[in-house]
Structures are given as structure tokens and as C-alpha cells.
């Protein structure tokens, strides 16, 4: 049994909208266009953030501060963190894939609020541009992406204020996106489609969006207060004027801890989509996966002070947050066991999408282990604010989210463009990235344990060799982008035609043309009640419904 669909129609009734490639630089309301705008824009910022990382690793080749001026180095590390979080990972795992896929998954033609969607995207390029130009004009912020006062109040104000405005815009964009996702998932499901029949990515995005809506506004409020301190000389966070710096930290981390789940939960959802397709097996444990997401959302809101174990926190508070944080390991671990169980017994195609997803599993398990260690107060006291923490979070955000972004690109590029990516280049990309990434960050655990703090341009000379090894890893990571970029661009022009469903997948986006028409399907939205209906027992003919020799 095969499914064929009529070819896409290029133009539709909306004749005022630009067509062709022009759509992508216009205020398009089409969720697919917006999704790709997020993806390309985010990737450009990833490259910029990567150059900044390169500057850091070059500085750290030698134990003295000899590459960048000291305040410039601090600007570089501040921008690196801010760009990677707010301009790359958050927009891409939420805005890019979320906007593209969620309407397909709920059986809708577009998101609930298409205009809000476009507004949310278009807040990003100016915010990012503002941030980057601040570096060249009056100097960027230099107090880290965490912007702790009093440092953020005593360093040059111009850069910090631009940083605050930029982050407020980016946070606003994120909130608008969150509102859109919640409304779309809960309200726009096509008739006959139940919540527990939705692809897992929808649950991940629902959970993430709840976190976005509840926690991002607190960051906004905090940064407004911080800007008052800088500009109006109030004393919210200035002890000399009666204020309290610890209050800033609590408010900041109330958002910034859920922020890491905002970066990782959508990635969890995407992996749940990718693995079953290439393993030809159902996703293991659908219901527990859903409950795990909800548990992570709830717990994620009450663990923020584990970022403050060496700060102004009393013993009882440190203990509470140790226990609460440790609990998150349980639902998270369940998800990983479920993914391994999805692999187990499959018919796995060893392609780039699967390799990056498996790389994600391996890397994130390591990051999760160091995370559980860091959650224990006595352990954290020694390694807080050292390279051990830097290693931990890069295993989570890079080894985790970025690996999933790459996996998702390999998986959905055929749908986005109608062309297949070259697999050989994909494997090269994976190998270089996996080796480079681990070479760069694994040694940093040892650096932190043995005495190297973070956010420094100079260090004890005994750490020179290990830092140089780490920088070589970073160089490999930089080089790995080359086969990837070439693959993306070349395949777009000369790639093999993908057809509607090159992976013979079951979710709704594959049941239409590649790329899809403006209205997503030329007929009605298909009703997919078993998005993971793979596996030998799941069809009448002894194979999954869409199987070709």
C-alpha cells in the first residue's frame, strides 16, 4: 500500500504575499517560512557565537592573557554565552522546529496566531544585531551572560544596557512563541485527534512553553530592576544603597534554570520523533514519556538555587535544593532508558540523523551524571564556577541540544527543501563533531576539579597542556562545520530529489509533498492516531503501513 499525493501548487489565494525565496526575507505569516527563518537566522548566530568561542580557546592556548585585551575577553565570553543561549538554541529548538512541525502534528494549516508568530520572529534579528554592534561601538556587556550585580552595575553602562534591552526583546519573542504553542497544541487539534495520540514533540513543546510563559517574565522584571540600578541609581541590588545582590541571583536563576529545560525539552521531543523512524520501531513507553516531561516541567521550577550553593544561601536552603534537583534525574533517566529501548530490537539505518541522535544520548548521559554530582551541595562547593561546570553544561547544551539540532536537520532537510543531503558528508560531519566536541570538553572536567576557575584568560601554567588539547578539540569542531555547510548548500542545488516520504515515516508532515504546499496538505489534514505505528506487529501485512523494498 503506498500513498501518493498530487503535486504542490506554488501560488495560493494570498496573492499579496511574496513568492519564492523572497518569502524568507518578508513578514511571512506561513509557519513553515517562519520556522525556516528561525533556523537560518539561528544558525548564523551559532556561527558568530562559534567565532567568539574560537577566540576564547585561542586565548586559552597559553596560560597568560596575551591574545585579547582583558575587558574585551570578558565581552567575548559574555556575548558567546548570550548569543548561544538566546539567539541560537532557544529560538531554534523552539521557534524553528516548533513552528514548522507543530501545525502538521496537530493537523492544522498554521499556528493559532500567525501574525504573533511573525512578530516573535522579527524581534530576533534586531535584538541580535543590537547585541553584536554594541561590541564595536561602545563595548559590549562584560559581566557574563549572568550579569551579576554589582559587577554589571560598575562595568561600562552602555554595553550592559544594550545587553538588557536585547535580552528583553529576545525574552519577549520567546514568550510570544510560548503562547502560540500552547494555544495551537491545546486548541487547534483536528477533529478526532486526541492529546495522547499526538507525536511526543508536541508534549515536549507544551511543557517547554509552560516553562517559557511562567519563568521568562521573571527575568524580564529582574532585568528591568537591574537597568534601574544602572541608569537611575536605585539600590535594588546594591548593598551600599541598602539592596541585596542575592535577590538578583534568586530572580535571575528562577528563569535561568528553567531556561536550560527550555533548551533541552524540545530536543528530547525531537529525538523521540527521529529514533522510531530510523529504527523502524515504536517509541518505547509513550505514556511514561509524557509524564516524565510534566514531571521535569514541575520540578524544573523549584530547583533554581542549585546555581547558588556557594552564594548567600543558608544551609537549609542549600539542602532543599540539593534534594529537589536530584529528583529530576529520575524522569530524565526514564526518558533515556526509553530511547535506548527504542533502539533495542530495531532495524536501524546508520545514517547521520541516527548517529547524531545516538551521540546525543551518549553525551547527555555524561552531562546528566555530572549534573547529578553538581546537584549535591558538598560536591558543588569545590567545583562551582570552575571548568567542571563549563564542561557539564556544554555536554548538555552542545552534546545535547546542538547534536539534536544537527540530527533534526538531517532528518527534516528533505521535507524542508525536497532534496536529500549527502550521507557521506553527514558521517564526516558527525565524526569530526563528536571527536572534536569530546576532545574539547572532556578534559575540562579535570581542569575544574584541579583548580581552574571559569571566565578567566589566564591560569596556573600546570594546566597548559590540557587547555591546548581542549583548544585542538575546538578547532576540530570549527572544521566540522565546513562539510556540513557545504552539504546544506550543495544539496539544495544538486541534491537527489527526496519525494514526499524518503524515510517512510508515519507522522503527518511526511504525508504531503516536499516541500509542503502553503496549506500543508492539498486535501484534508490526515488523521494519524498512531504516529509511532512501526514494528512487525503493527500492521496487517507484517510491516509498517508504508514499506517499500
Amino acid at each position: 500500500m503506498s500513498i501518493s499525493l498530487p503535486p504542490a501548487t506554488e501560488n495560493n489565494s494570498n496573492s499579496l504575499q511574496p513568492t519564492g525565496w523572497l518569502r524568507f526575507i518578508s513578514f511571512s505569516l506561513d509557519h513553515k517560512v517562519i520556522g525556516l527563518q528561525y533556523l537560518v537566522c539561528g544558525f548564523i548566530f551559532y556561527l558568530i557565537g562559534g567565532v567568539l568561542a574560537g577566540a576564547i580557546r585561542i586565548e586559552l592556548l597559553s596560560p597568560i592573557s596575551d591574545f585579547l585585551a582583558r575587558d574585551v575577553y570578558n565581552q567575548v565570553l559574555t556575548l558567546h554565552g548570550t548569543i548561544m543561549i538566546f539567539l541560537w538554541i532557544v529560538p531554534v529548538v523552539n521557534g524553528a522546529f516548533g513552528n514548522y512541525l507543530i501545525p502538521f502534528y496537530v493537523g492544522a494549516r498554521d499556528m493559532a496566531f500567525p501574525r504573533l508568530n511573525a512578530v516573535a520572529f522579527w524581534m530576533i534579528p534586531p535584538a541580535g544585531l543590537m547585541l553584536i554592534t554594541s561590541y564595536f561601538i561602545n563595548g559590549a556587556a562584560q559581566s557574563g551572560w549572568t550579569a551579576y550585580p554589582p559587577l554589571s552595575i560598575t562595568t561600562p553602562a552602555a554595553g550592559q544596557i544594550v545587553w538588557i534591552v536585547s535580552v528583553l526583546l529576545l525574552g519577549g519573542s520567546s514568550i510570544f512563541g510560548g503562547i502560540n504553542f500552547i494555544a495551537t497544541i491545546l486548541k487547534l487539534r483536528r477533529p478526532g485527534l486526541k492529546l495522547m495520540q499526538l507525536p511526543m514533540y508536541c508534549w515536549a513543546m507544551l511543557g517547554t512553553s509552560i516553562l517559557v510563559v511562567l519563568s521568562t517574565p521573571v527575568l524580564a522584571g529582574t532585568l528591568i530592576l537591574l537597568s534601574f540600578d544602572i541608569v537611575a541609581h536605585t539600590g535594588f541590588f546594591n548593598p551600599a544603597l541598602g539592596g541585596n545582590v542575592i535577590v538578583y541571583q534568586h530572580l535571575f536563576w528562577f528563569y535561568s534554570h528553567p531556561a536550560v529545560y527550555i533548551m533541552v525539552l524540545p530536543a528530547f521531543g525531537l529525538v523521540s520523533e527521529i529514533l522510531p523512524v530510523h529504527c523502524r520501531k515504536p517509541l518505547f513507553g509513550y505514556t511514561t514519556m509524557v509524564y516524565s516531561i510534566m514531571a521535569i516541567v514541575v520540578l524544573g521550577l523549584v530547583v533554581w538555587a542549585h546555581h547558588m550553593f556557594t552564594s548567600g544561601t543558608p544551609p537549609w536552603m542549600r539542602l532543599f535544593f540539593t534534594i529537589a534537583t536530584s529528583f529530576i534525574a529520575v524522569p530524565t533517566g526514564i526518558k533515556f532508558f526509553n530511547w535506548v529501548a527504542t533502539l533495542w530490537g530495531g532495524r536501524i539505518t546508520l545514517n547521520s540523523a541516527i548517529l547524531f541522535s545516538c551521540g546525543f544520548i551518549v553525551n547527555f548521559v555524561l552531562g546528566g551524571i555530572t549534573g547529578v554530582a553538581l546537584a549535591q551541595v558538598p560536591f558543588d562547593i569545590h567545583v562551582h564556577d570552575t571548568y567542571f561546570v563549563v564542561a557539564h553544561f556544554h555536554y548538555i547544551v552542545y552534546g545535547g541540544s546542538v547534536f539534536v539540532i544537527f540530527s533534526s536537520i538531517y532528518h527534516w532537510y528533505p521535507k524542508f527543501t525536497g532534496k536529500m543531503l549527502d550521507e557521506k558528508l553527514g558521517i564526516i560531519h558527525f565524526v569530526l563533531t563528536f571527536i572534536g566536541f569530546n576532545l574539547c570538553f572532556a578534559p575540562q572536567h579535570w581542569l575544574g576539579l584541579n583548580g581552574m576557575p571559569r571566565r578567566v584568560a589566564e591560569y596556573d601554567p600546570q594546566f597548559t597542556l590540557v587547555n591546548q588539547i581542549s583548544s585542538v578539540g575546538a578547532l576540530l569542531m570549527a572544521i566540522s562545520t565546513l562539510p556540513f555547510l557545504w552539504n546544506i548548500l550543495y544539496s539544495f542545488i544538486k541534491g537527489e530529489k527526496a519525494g514526499n516520504n524518503p524515510w517512510q515515516a508515519l507522522t503527518p508532515e511526511w504525508l504531503t509533498t516536499s516541500p509542503p504546499p502553503v496549506e500543508n496538505w492539498s486535501g484534508e489534514a490526515p488523521l494519524v492516531t498512531k504516529p509511532y505505528g512501526y514494528g512487525e506487529k503493527n500492521s496487517d501485512e507484517g510491516g509498517s503501513p508504508i514499506t517499500q523494498a
Binding site: 575577553y73 570578558n74 559581566s143 551579576y148 554589582p150 559587577l151 560598575t154 548593598p239 551600599a240 541585596n244 542575592i246 529504527c279 523502524r280 520501531k281 517509541l283 518505547f284 513507553g285 509513550y286 505514556t287 511514561t288 556557594t310 552564594s311 544561601t313 543558608p314 544551609p315 542549600r318 539542602l319 540539593t322 536530584s326 529520575v330 535506548v340 529501548a341 533502539l343 530490537g345 530495531g346 532495524r347 536501524i348 546508520l350 548521559v365 555524561l366 551524571i369 554530582a373 549535591q376 551541595v377 558538598p378 560536591f379 562547593i381 569545590h382 564556577d385 579535570w446 576539579l449 584541579n450 583548580g451 576557575p453 578567566v456 589566564e458 512501526y534 514494528g535 512487525e536 510491516g543
Partner: protein
């Protein structure tokens, strides 16, 4: 089948446990131990390290095994098995991590308590000659529970620490000493009361396994008993400006007699006896 898996798992785990403990003891994964709470820390580290490696090796092994054993061979059609759940297995892998996490949490509480983390900060910090006598203490760590018991027999060395961009200053109120280096006698409990003059800094001695942020206007404390003579770095571990990486000092742990000599030599007070 289940028995074979169980035997494999247990034997590999045992190997990892032995290997892990050996690695921690012999591979310089941590700096040398120089205070009485540091060995307690290292105990926790060993446990976490071993559990971590077992988990990591297990998960990575399963992934690699699956990719090899269950890969699609050329010419194969059809899907994998339609396995969607397995209640006993799921209960197992929910219960075991929950128990492990609970154990780790409770064990960490015990470690933290032994390291002095649960001591009430105001009673353990030095109560006289402090620079901010009305100040509440906003964070910190007390003496190890062992040392707290023995404390009454040994006098406490009280030092006021000031952090500023980009140095640490150590003020010994009893001797009116202001020094750029922290001198302490081996075997005697030390109490540091710390405050910053400008931005947030942090006081970190890797060999003591202790760190505490030093905050303007909000004093914090660190209490410890040094156990090994030597010079160890005091490292600022909170971004404090352009020279953050260069902000370090030294803690000199010396024999009590040498410490007394240093103290007398630097003290501005005539004939102070401790």
C-alpha cells in the same frame, strides 16, 4: 538469558567499582588534601565517580551494542519488533534510579553535615573582633563536625578577609596584622569572616575543597582546620572584572611554631599571646 545478563552486569560493575576507586586514588583526579574536611569530600567524589562511570559505560555500551546488533543490513526489508512497553522493566528502571538518587541525596547530606555545612553560621563564626559586629552572616560553612567537638581545646584563629578588585587582604584582628597572604597553623581551627569592598568575589582553595562567595555588604564565613603544611593557592572564583583570572593569593599552612614566629614578627601589638 536474564541470568547471563545479570552476571555480566554485576561483574562489569564490580570491575568498574574497583577501577574507579583505584583511579581516584592514583590518577591525580583531585589536588592534594590539606584540610580536615577534604578527605570527607573525596569520599563523596569516589562514590559519585563510580556510580557515574557505571551508568555511563552501561548506557554507552547499550547504544553501541544496539547500533551494531540491530543495524539494518543491506537488502533487509521490514521493521523492528513492535515493542512499546514492558511494565516490569519500566518499574525496575524507575525504582532503581529513584533509590540511587535517594541514596546519593541522603549520603550527600551526611557528607555535608560532616564537612560542617549544617552548622549554624552565627555561632560558629568568630564573635569578637569582627569587622561588622551587627552583621548577619549570609552564607558559609562551619568546622567539620569532628573538629567542632574538639574545638574547645584549641583556640580559633580568626581572620577577617576583604576581597577587592583584584586582591585578597587578610586582617588578623588580635594582632592587628594586615597581610596579602593567609598564614595559618596546621591543626588549629580557622574562621574566616569575609566581605567584599566592591563586586562579588569568591574565596576558593582547591586543596581545602572549600569555596564561598565574598559579597559586598553581606558577610560570609568559611571555617576549616588545615592538616598539611604547604603553600596552596587562594583563587577568586566569581567573575569580578578584567583581572579576575589574575586574582589569587596564597594560604601558607605552617607548623604552629613557625606560625607563631610569623605572627609575632608581623604583629603590631606588643607581646600578644594567643
Amino acid at each position: 538469558m536474564l541470568q547471563k545478563t545479570a552476571i555480566y552486569t554485576i561483574s562489569i560493575s564490580l570491575l568498574i567499582i574497583i577501577g574507579g576507586i583505584w583511579a581516584v586514588d592514583n590518577l591525580n583526579l583531585l589536588p592534594v588534601v590539606a584540610s580536615s574536611n577534604a578527605p570527607i569530600y573525596d569520599e563523596l567524589f569516589k562514590v559519585l565517580f563510580v556510580i557515574g562511570i557505571i551508568l555511563f559505560v552501561g548506557m554507552t555500551g547499550l547504544v553501541i551494542y544496539s547500533l551494531i546488533r540491530f543495524r539494518k543490513k543491506p537488502g533487509q526489508v521490514g521493521d523492528g519488533i513492535a515493542l512499546e512497553d514492558n511494565l516490569p522493566l519500566e518499574i525496575f528502571w524507575t525504582a532503581v534510579p529513584a533509590i540511587v538518587v535517594l541514596f546519593v541525596g541522603l549520603y550527600s547530606y551526611d557528607i555535608y553535615e560532616r564537612m560542617g555545612g549544617m552548622q549554624s553560621l552565627s555561632t560558629n563564626s568568630h564573635d569578637h573582633h569582627s569587622m561588622n559586629s551587627e552583621g548577619r552572616v549570609w552564607g558559609g560553612i562551619g568546622l567539620t563536625s569532628q573538629d567542632a567537638i574538639e574545638r574547645n581545646s584549641l583556640p580559633m584563629i580568626n581572620v577577617d578577609v576583604t576581597a577587592l578588585q583584584f586582591a585578597f587582604l587578610f586582617n588578623y584582628p588580635e594582632g592587628e596584622i594586615v597581610s596579602g597572604e593567609l598564614h595559618v597553623p596546621r591543626g588549629q581551627p580557622v574562621s574566616l569572616k569575609m566581605e567584599s569592598k566592591d563586586v562579588i568575589h569568591a574565596f576558593w582553595v582547591p586543596e581545602f575543597r572549600l569555596k564561598q562567595d565574598v559579597i559586598p555588604g553581606q558577610p560570609t564565613v568559611i571555617n576549616f582546620t588545615p592538616t598539611k603544611t604547604g603553600k596552596y593557592p587562594i583563587i577568586c572564583a566569581e567573575l569580578c572584572g578584567p583581572y579576575h583570572g589574575g586574582m589569587r593569593s596564597t594560604v601558607v599552612v605552617e607548623e604552629p611554631e613557625e606560625y607563631q614566629a610569623w605572627f609575632k614578627q608581623n604583629s603590631k601589638q606588643p607581646e600578644m599571646e594567643l
